[in-house]
Assembly symmetry: D3
Homo-oligomer: 331 residues x 6
């Protein structure tokens, strides 16, 4: 990993001597006819606009979204926003030892801790066949992909390791539901939770940006997952057809409604538990992130968030009460 | 096949000496406390109510929906409807050589003619890999199941051989669309048309009645089909991933809308053609059947048909004009 | 409490000498002109049909749904269902010491344990003002009502103490979400969870049956709750307006969507957490109960459940595998 | 009130020596690097763009939307629209005696006439308790707020005194419905009409622009109103609970549908009358205003109006026929 | 008109010697095998069940819904409802001078008064062409049909003269809107109000019951009306195309939404006024009637009303307070 | 017709000496204050941007969208797109003999061939009255309009002769359905297919651009068509009312759903066939065109297409496989 100050800690007039990822790149020209490169450059913590007025010939010819550049310059402010004033720029080379993925946002949770928690849950499954199936599936390269992938393009857990973090949250929520209802089939439900989104490792690309693959758009992660699980089930002799149908049902129905792209709706108690646990994990993550990152200037309200169908409010009562007399309120 | 007069040709006072399928069977008792068997019995052309007042001990104990019985009696009229007055009844035995499936409704088209038309279309596919895939899939027992199955439980083409009849209609509609648009990929579209509903051979049961299987309810014919096709594709070396994704996409998107249980919506010109061809074939068949079979007495209107969201009208202008003076009108 | 065998443990030919609640009562007459009382009678575990042919003059004149009767008779079977053959019946009197509420279904969880868990959560709130508000609200008669009420008329937690059980589940789910997201305001969220359904103590009646009150139908539990909370906030000097608005917002938005009768949709991270936790608790409870109580005879499928928009499937793989050789499967 | 020519009466080349309200203010810079202030300035009749190229240091530092400025300059035309060429500008001071609210659009109806009509309707209520309640609520500062507030942010009656104008229209429509149906409870209906939107005085801010308050977004005017009315009812001894429930029901259900943010739908004849009267008053006002103010140049059609889901047409047959020969057409 | 006591004034044991309309007629048989006629018979005020056990041969053979019978018998009570015990019955003959239409429910308003009000409004139209058009359309037999027809089959104004009563209400509401908005085109709006539902005279049949005609179901009153108006416009030379388009638009868009079967949505201020006025008149009439006629026994709530999507509440506060001490409440 | 190279065949640096249609024209000014004309100019194959910096006085004063100009200049590239560098420009004059319609896109099918196919279908109708009606309607100027008009503004068959091409496709699809179902009334169905969209000749304008007329927006092509057909039916004595109602029903219901602006939904087998045939023809045409014309650079995916609610994918497997080794794949 490269060592450089993170973008979101810089202020006006700070020096830039950074490797950064190209998130947008357009050749434009001014009314007076001179060309310039309009770009957005970032690391895993933030992105800034940068207009490049000179020395961009190589970059204009060969640079594209997802490439890494080495930039020198200064942070400056323009119309209330920070941007980069570029003094020199070049495309990164192999010798630089930097990789686009290092510039993608990633989970704040510790990866090994999450892997341990996940593997502990595989071991906790008492049904021999399900445990065998999970062990077959979550191994080697596929497990590494699963631990690397984001859970979405932009809405929730949209960062490296996000799929693992999201899956763990759902597992824990499902475990709590099994505490409430001892007649839920824990083995089935936990297995379904682990597998429900595994199709996202093929639905999404996350090498240098988060996007949908062709297969992701034409097939979708739900059917990719069901096919993967069926393939692995076929390798296990005597896997009972009822167990197979119910496990596939959990995967297919986990988005809860036909209009959310599930080809069947939940028809078992375990299926409704998985769907609602997924919703809970996803929505709270998404709203929390939006409330942090989308606030309007000098406001406790975000811009309008289409997927929430509203603007969102940040309740930060504690902070403001502290300015006056926190003691009188929280003691 | 058994030889006996078809039910829909009988009238009041005709003798009954028939094998018939049990479509409903309830043990009831009159206010005065005597038990009787209330049943609905039918062949492939019709069903009639029959109350059995005596000699039903064996039938009450062992008979169930989908069994065949031998019935003797008379056709009588009650409250404006025909029913059977039963003089004797017994469960059919092996020696009778009758099978429940012989009592299910079936397509009016000739089976061999349909099979020939279908196989001719397989041969017409010019892409070597798709032709191989189709040949692999439509063979032996699976092809026989495909030719036997209905296309639905009750709405459209809901009769033996209905799936084959429906698939052929779609193929022909798609061929017409290829005439209009030479840039549609005919091989892909025809292959998709052939495969789109093949999952129905596992989604439905049609031994003695048309119903959904457990797998049909928990998984659904769309995902069943995609898994079957993937399994067969894996047996073909070098099957191009683009072709695979696009063929699977045709299957997954053929119901056209998420709320119709397709997990992806049509995203190619071929996919929209298949969806609309399916709609056309299904809806016209369904409306035509409803207009014939659901007319209210002395009316050109049917009862309210929930799937059409209206009552339907039978336009039979020709018939009535003929009674007067057909010549003046159609000459 | 009365001591008598519970209805759901009785079989054909068992004697009945029970106090039972009238759940339906109609005076009918046979074709031959004689009158009889058609009733449904039950205790907290089950309900049975009972036709009363003699000695029902007083009951016909004065008995109504929700009254308790003393019945003597026998359990008999009719068309596959158990019913009561009544030899004598009378309305219960004060001296019998029986109360309609004793015949309503109730939570399987221990009441005192639930009360302790609930009060422990009030103590865990660190914000002084919210703790004061909760203490004011959950006390004396109102707390007893809260602990007694069902959470619904029939769909989920529809039994005595159901509101308390449901609220506790939501609290625990919200606590788990606070573990995932330390920046959620735990005090606000837990307070909202406790208060969100308190309006149900006025929306529902549950003396002798579960039903909506006039106020419940004309106003609804959401607005009843917000008014109650506002009334109690007004008694606390200097309750900050931001805290008030955000707490009321949690109550108003907890059904998540306008079409679910919330007058505002969730606009804070806490509000979305509460809504999704409520959904999770309610839906899993409802599906679990339906899967148990609505199974069709000889089937792993229930009748069609309108609120789930499907029939539901009972996955009881373990049980059946045990019959054969559980060991080979789960070891 | 300030005395100055109204903006909507000015033409190209007219002098500007006006106090105007800042409706938009952005610091921008040209490609050549010089800064300028891009603003939109207006009075109650119109708004014009004004780019300020010099002498804007104080304004850029301290001016914000909702402030009043003193501007000198000329009206000029740019790309077919009028704008202000500014020669000098300064922020208004206390000594100028001008207030932002004086620059907001206001109702064309006479305020005192509307107040008289409204008070006359309070007196016309014959039920003693309702009249007492109305008198309690519509008095002093709250009545002044009610008479000042707009009925919406932008869609209908979105101007000072708009809430009063809108409420009066609904009252008159309801009175007409009482003429048609003598069995409607006039006292209840008129009281509901008066109170239904009173929550808007807290939902909206209208000091220097029309916008939603935090409470407006988190709680909404419907629940604000119900709480206010309940508070006042509690001050009236023996207010019958049926009357209370029905009056609150009118307020809660007045938007008619759950998806319009009413937590209950209309369940009484009075409630449906109030909802439909509100729709009638609101929609006609909104369409009429849109047809006037949103016409495209040289067209009888407006731009697309999202809330109407269409572009709107101005029917001005009379005008055009008059130009030719009005007589022949209307005589 | 026949002179006989109205059905809704009769009580148990009253004599029946009435002409009544057959609203339902079924030949049934008892378990013991004897036939009887089950009928529903009514006049314009009510309908009662009547089982006829003897002397019904002619009636069973020739009687049908919509025929008038002469019945003698007594009013009796059965399971809490009144019914007719028939001693003799015969089909009415020409000589009886009774007509099915005399037994249909009709408006409570005076017909001549309504006709006068309507004609006065035609005279009030100042545009020469529109007045000519209205005069052409509302004359002779068509005007009589218009004054006779109901406005619907069952939901609102579903009684003889209902279309006229409903149209008059809308006219008056529109006139009030013109008072609020002098820039609405009164002539256009009033003409549209008069014509909007005229297609109902062909959409509905109302000779002996209210039902849809074939044309009503296949075409609908909206398009019937537009065609009728166009036909009459063609007879007026120089009718301006703009006026024609706008008047037709009022008719086509008066149901306000595509899903309510309007082929265009309102695009002018007049069109939105007409739609909302129609809604107001229709809904209040429908709810008022439902609240009166659909109340459950001993309840202030009706059964569930599908078109209102709720059960409805009757607020009759005054009545009950009067029983106690009206004075203290309303003085 | 003018003779000039088609725009879509030109490349960078090619000379322009063309008549072109103005598709957009705006007077703009640079920051430095100089005015220029920003235009979009095109022929039937493509449109290019052109900024005109000098000699545009006459054009700025009198030119408008839909006018033809004579342009000299060169093709140049700007930001990756071709545009026109204009050296001189003037409005076309009568003497130039060019007409705006010559610059509109048109069907790729041969016009006379289509006319012949259409007239052949009129002759194939065997019902004398329907054939008479069709002959009356499709003649002289109206037939020319019908053959000239596009079938839509932009979505499907949106080019000159598009309405004829679309109608022919539907006719052929309906003929195929009649092959499947001999009990469909072919005469009725083909007549309905021919007439269903004829209202588009008045709904759309297509002289110099495709747009809606006032009548198109206020009335719509469905009702325009029904009125036209009724007018012509009235000229045919003894046209049976059932035939009239069913034919009008086909026209009115051909958009299949109320929310698609059909005032009635399909209620006959013929009506559902026409609706589904229309959908099939329209959707495949629209998707095919979008897949061709809306591809993003270097992508097999289009931009997001709102009417398809997705981005669309171009499957061009053949082309790419050909580049490598077509033989191995298609032989």
């Amino acid at each position: 990993m490269i060592k450089q100050t993170e973008l979101n800690t810089l202020s006006k007039n700070d020096k830039i001597d950074h490797f950064l990822l190209i998130r947008r790149i357009d050749l434009r020209s001014t009314k007076s006819g001179s060309d310039f490169l309009s770009t957005e450059l970032g690391d895993k913590t933030a992105s800034l606009n940068a207009n490049i007025w000179e020395g961009f010939a190589e970059l204009a010819a060969r640079g594209k979204v997802g490439d890494v550049v080495k930039v020198e310059g200064t942070v400056e402010e323009y119309q209330g926003s920070l941007q980069i004033r570029v003094s020199s720029v070049r495309l990164a080379t192999e010798g630089d030892g930097v990789y686009p993925r290092d510039f993608l946002p990633e989970s704040k949770r510790n990866l090994n801790e999450m892997k341990n928690e996940f593997n502990q849950r595989i071991r906790s499954v008492s049904n021999r066949l399900l445990k065998k199936l999970l062990t077959q599936i979550f191994k080697e390269e596929r497990f590494e992909q699963f631990c690397l992938a984001p859970a979405g393009k932009s809405w929730h857990h949209a960062y490296i390791h996000g799929l693992l973090e999201h899956t763990l949250e759902i597992i824990k929520i499902c475990e709590l539901m099994c505490e409430f209802h001892s007649d839920l089939n824990r083995d089935l439900l936990i297995s379904g939770a682990m597998l429900h989104d595994i199709g996202k490792i093929e639905e999404l690309s996350y090498d240098s940006a988060f996007d949908y693959t062709d297969k992701g758009k034409l097939v979708g992660h739900i059917v990719i997952a069901s096919n993967l699980v069926w393939d692995e089930i076929k390798k296990i002799p005597d896997f009972p057809v009822e167990l197979e149908n119910n496990l596939i049902h959990l995967i297919l129905s986990h988005q809860g409604k036909l209009e959310h792209a599930s080809p069947v709706i939940p028809k078992t108690a375990e299926a409704i538990a998985l769907y609602q646990a997924d919703e809970l994990s996803a929505k709270v993550n998404a709203y929390k992130n939006a409330v942090e990152s989308e606030l309007k200037a000098d406001s406790n309200w975000t811009r309008f968030i289409p997927l929430a169908d509203t603007d969102l409010h940040k309740f930060n009562f504690t902070d403001r009460s502290e300015e006056k007399s926190k003691k009188s309120l929280f003691d």
